[in-house]
């Protein structure tokens, strides 16, 4: 596994094809949790953890169990969701035990990671592009880091926006969508690097 290739996957997943700002996956926690910097960072790390663990288990399951038996054509989606949901449950149990503050800050958005299309999307990209185990893991970690980066950027902007003089109809969510659109446009500057 060349260092070159790892860097390409990382830069591609974090900047060029950022999961939130370029692929538009995982928008629900993106807008739901990005009001405060602390919960944004916590959510980012939770998603990164679930992504990594999910690919860790899904890649061998798909390669050694589903595909040889010919089950991958119809069982992929449901088996992937099974694995992802279990790991989200695990994260919830661990957070409840070790960081009650973060558990309450994330609230309902923690179980919503299960149906988060970013996680399932990452799993499917790893499978469809036939990435090797190491490539898939690097991709998952980088996707999580890109998600965290987008969340942190949004949280920083939103915290400042709370003091700004915004027309009443645009307060909170509408201005966040406009901000996200502008950020997404800005990320287009990275196109062509990889």
């Amino acid at each position: 596994m060349e260092f070159n290739q790892i860097m390409i996957i990382m830069i591609s997943a974090i900047f060029v094809n950022n999961f939130v700002l370029s692929r538009f996956l995982g928008l629900c926690p993106y807008f739901g949790v990005s009001k405060k910097m602390d919960s944004a960072i916590g959510m980012g790390f939770a998603v990164t953890f679930v992504l990594t663990m999910a690919v860790l288990v899904i890649h061998p399951v798909n390669l050694y169990i589903l595909t040889p038996l010919g089950l991958d054509k119809f069982l992929q989606i449901i088996v992937f969701i099974f694995v992802i949901a279990s790991f989200v449950q695990l994260v919830e149990i661990l957070l409840k035990k070790f960081s009650k503050g973060l558990y309450h800050a994330l609230g309902i958005y923690l179980p919503l990671i299960t149906t988060n299309c970013a996680i399932l999307g990452a799993a499917f990209i790893v499978v469809q592009e036939n990435m090797s185990y190491v490539e898939g893991l690097v991709f998952a970690v980088s996707a999580g880091l890109g998600f965290t980066l987008a969340l942190i950027m949004m949280a920083g902007v939103r915290e400042k926006l709370e003091m700004a003089d915004i027309p009443k109809a645009f307060v909170d969510l509408p201005i966040s969508f406009i901000t996200a659109a502008l950020m997404s446009l800005a990320m287009f500057g990275f196109l062509g690097i990889v």
């Binding site: 279990s86 409840k96 070790f98």
Partner: protein
């Protein structure tokens, strides 16, 4: 034949994941004070938010764990306040 494999794979995956979650839930269990559940039952379960907490369950938790004021429940009235004080007193003995 392929259906048999599908059933077996789903069974295997579910059992493995279920056991994993059960083990983790037991090992990392968080002890919940039984008074929280009792006070939650004494509250009217309207979840109106008049007490300042998002729901009756959160108010019950705040009373037991953070010593919140027991007289904040408006729909409950004086009966609820008496019940809450009873529950807090009996478990101290």
């Amino acid at each position: 034949m392929i259906i048999l494999w599908a059933v077996l794979v789903m069974l295997g995956v579910s059992v493995f994941l279920g056991v994993m979650i059960a083990v983790f839930a037991k090992v990392f269990e968080v002890k919940v004070d039984p008074r929280v559940a009792k006070i939650n039952e004494a509250l009217p379960s309207v979840n109106c938010g008049a007490c300042g907490y998002p729901g009756c369950a959160q108010y019950a938790e705040a009373i037991v764990e953070q010593g919140a004021d027991t007289k904040l429940c408006k729909p409950g009235g004086p009966d609820t306040i008496t019940a809450i004080l009873e529950i807090l007193k009996e478990s101290k003995d």
